[in-house]
């Protein structure tokens, strides 16, 4: 048993504070909706004195704006990029593809690079919001070295719109001290939430995964938009809701301090928690669930396109990419990068699960992003 009855230690508090400073605790709910991310970008832009401005042989400007996910980079790499190019990276953290899409759709996001997930790319292409990439400016992208499973979604009708960043899964993180062992099925997850783990289970504040895994519980496809099947998923979710600890995608703090015992969880978060607290494990639902891949892409209206290409190319160099992977714990599809990673990382069952554990998983489908019924279901679930 962990001693989780003591008040928060100074160290833990500082960790939380640092997480806040990194933007990770404000994930999904707060940074985006409060505009703090944007405010930070504006502040940085309004004080050019804070930014390094050096004359460069190849001038890409003094800044590049990156919209990405929480806990997804090694900050030291951005510093090194600044040293190399003179361009400062402004990082905005977001919680969902929908939120990113909303900001780009509204126009004037000011972003140069963003990180859409596989299923979001077709919508960006359809809405003409994403730039076809000039691969001659990304020499570090070598298609031959990437696993096509995690690279294909960046290409639509033969045009490359995104180059692969990382891939991962959405599984279950569980505190084995409390659950008494591995929890590796959505059946156990949702049933336990209403039983032994009442008040200790978290689901994402995200329609794709929360509805998707409730569909998987019933044996349906993670991506279903069939009204009958959605109705059954809704019944399950509304039944479970009073027993949930929270509906939030910011689950690390609650898992770490012992308030929550189980949560829907992305690979890298699972790895980060497991590294610090070995009793927190991560497993994939054996009935299925989500597998995903993220891509670097450039919005059509990016104000610093040259810098955008330079940043993507920099982050895709195998040496830099390996440092990134060591920091965030998400798997990489690039064999050149993997060749640089330590053996124990490549054999880590959280980061690189066995092929048979991956086989029931599904890539999210574009239709789930725009289906109004799933959006309304989520609203009914949250307001129930």
């Amino acid at each position: 048993m962990k001693n989780d009855n003591t008040p928060i230690s100074r160290k833990a508090f500082m960790e939380e504070l640092r997480r806040y400073q990194k933007g990770s605790v404000t994930r999904r709910h707060f940074l985006g909706v409060t505009g703090l991310g944007t405010a930070a970008a504006v502040m940085g832009g309004a004080m050019p004195g804070l930014l390094p401005s050096r004359a460069r042989a190849q001038d890409i400007g003094d800044r590049v704006v990156l919209a990405t996910w929480p806990n997804y980079h090694d900050a030291a790499n951005f510093d090194a990029f600044t040293d190399e190019t003179g361009a400062y990276t402004q990082v905005n953290v977001f919680g969902s593809n929908e939120e990113m899409l909303a900001k780009i759709q509204a126009g004037g996001s000011g972003w140069d690079v963003f990180v859409p997930t596989n299923y979001a790319i077709p919508t960006y292409v359809e809405a003409d919001l994403i730039e076809p990439l000039d691969l001659s400016k990304i020499p570090n992208f070598d298609p031959a070295s990437f696993d096509p499973r995690f690279a294909d979604a960046g290409t639509i009708d033969g045009v490359v719109y995104g180059v692969p960043k990382n891939w991962g899964t959405t599984g279950i993180a569980f505190n084995s001290d409390k659950t008494g062992g591995v929890v590796d099925s959505w059946k156990a997850f949702f049933d336990g939430a209403r039983d032994a783990w009442d008040g200790r289970v978290m689901v994402h504040d995200y329609q794709l995964t929360t509805i998707g895994n409730a569909l998987v519980y019933h044996g349906f496809s993670f991506n279903s938009v069939d009204p009958e099947e959605l109705a059954q998923a809704e019944k399950l979710l509304i039944d479970v809701k009073p027993h949930l600890y929270a509906i939030s995608s910011d689950y690390q703090p609650a898992m770490r301090n012992g308030d929550a015992w189980l949560t829907m969880c992305w690979t890298g978060d699972g790895k980060q928690m497991n590294t610090d607290m070995p009793e927190i494990g991560f497993a994939l639902g054996k009935e299925g669930g989500e597998i995903w891949s993220d891509y670097y892409a450039i919005p059509k209206d990016a104000p610093h396109k040259e810098a955008a290409y330079a940043l993507i190319n920099y982050l895709l160099s195998p040496e830099v990419n390996a440092k990134e992977a060591l920091a965030h714990g998400y798997p990489v599809a690039d064999s050149r990068t993997n060749a640089l990673l330590p053996e124990e990382l490549l054999n880590d069952p959280i980061i690189y699960p066995a092929a048979e554990a991956l086989s029931p998983l599904e890539f999210g489908a574009a239709v789930t992003l725009t289906d109004p019924n799933r959006a309304e279901l989520m609203a009914r679930f949250k307001s129930a």
Partner: protein, 283 residues
């Protein structure tokens, strides 16, 4: 002539500000609310009442808001009044400034960060851990409507304290002395003199807090664990998640209408109260 020109000149900045920052956005929201959601989300032009017909889909959000906003306002009032009374009437002038500053200082920190502090206080290693020491096991405070109420009262307390403080500060102490001379017990003097004379502060503070609570979304999201859903949260989701801007606009218009009605009723009550106070003959 010159006077009217000066007046026009002085009003121009405010006028332009209101036109650009209030009327224009409001017009956009109104136009959007009659439009449609485009197939990939966002807004598609149109003229339909479909979004308004769909409003019952957010009934629960309005119900939650219209429950917690008055309750939160009342709770803030019950806590703020004694505090304001103490600051205005009881405390010695020597300490007054410092105590007032203590009320304001937390306000200088972002509500986001202060609400985050409450996550630690209400979480399993905070107050529940202390309660366990005295034998109350497994108390869950965080991510409940109670936690949201605590956050609301804490966050908006200064907005309630100050108007009441100002009203009590202006109170003519001679009225109380006269009452005492005429043999009125203190509690009656409070009910008949202090309370009625501080009512303008109470009403202003309540109005300030209530209006802000109606649009609140941050505190329910942080301290309610996403399980307490206000209209503000519905709006955030509609604009940023499902990207149904047309329906979101209709919900926003509905919120404005609900506010106008509630504030209208409130103003009525205030006027009636003002009249009855005249009857008492203190003014």
């Amino acid at each position: 002539m010159t006077q009217s020109r000066a007046r026009a000149l002085l009003l121009t900045p405010a006028g332009l500000w209101y036109a650009a920052m209030l009327l224009l956005p409001l017009a956009v929201v109104l136009i959007f609310s009659f439009g449609e959601r485009s197939a990939i989300g966002g807004y598609a032009p149109g003229f339909t009442f479909e979004q308004y017909a769909n409003l019952p889909a957010r009934f629960a959000a309005f119900r939650n808001t219209l429950t917690l906003a008055p309750v939160g306002t009342l709770a803030a009032l019950l806590i703020a009044y004694p505090l304001a009374y103490f600051l205005a009437v009881k405390v010695s002038p020597k300490w007054k400034t410092m105590l007032l500053v203590l009320v304001i200082v937390p306000f200088w920190t972002s509500i986001l960060i202060r609400s985050y502090a409450w996550i630690f206080l209400l979480g399993g290693k905070g107050i529940p851990a202390l309660l366990e020491v005295i034998g109350l096991d497994d108390v869950r405070l965080l991510n409940t409507p109670f936690a949201v109420l605590v956050g609301i009262v804490y966050g908006y307390l200064p907005l309630m304290v100050f108007p009441i403080y100002v009203a009590l500060e202006k109170l003519d102490k001679r009225l109380l002395e006269a009452a005492a001379d005429l043999g009125t017990p203190p509690w009656r003097a409070f009910l008949q003199i202090t309370l009625p004379l501080s009512m303008p502060g109470v009403l202003t503070g309540s109005m300030l807090v209530f209006i802000l609570l109606m649009g609140e979304f941050l505190i329910p999201a942080i301290l309610g664990g996403g399980k307490v859903f206000f209209v503000g949260n519905a709006l955030v989701d509609l604009f940023l998640q499902s990207r149904n801007w047309a329906f979101g606009s209709a919900v926003a218009v509905a919120l404005v209408v609900v506010m106008l009605i509630t504030v209208g009723i409130y103003t009525r009550l205030v006027k009636r109260f003002g009249a009855s106070r005249d009857d008492v003959g203190l003014m």
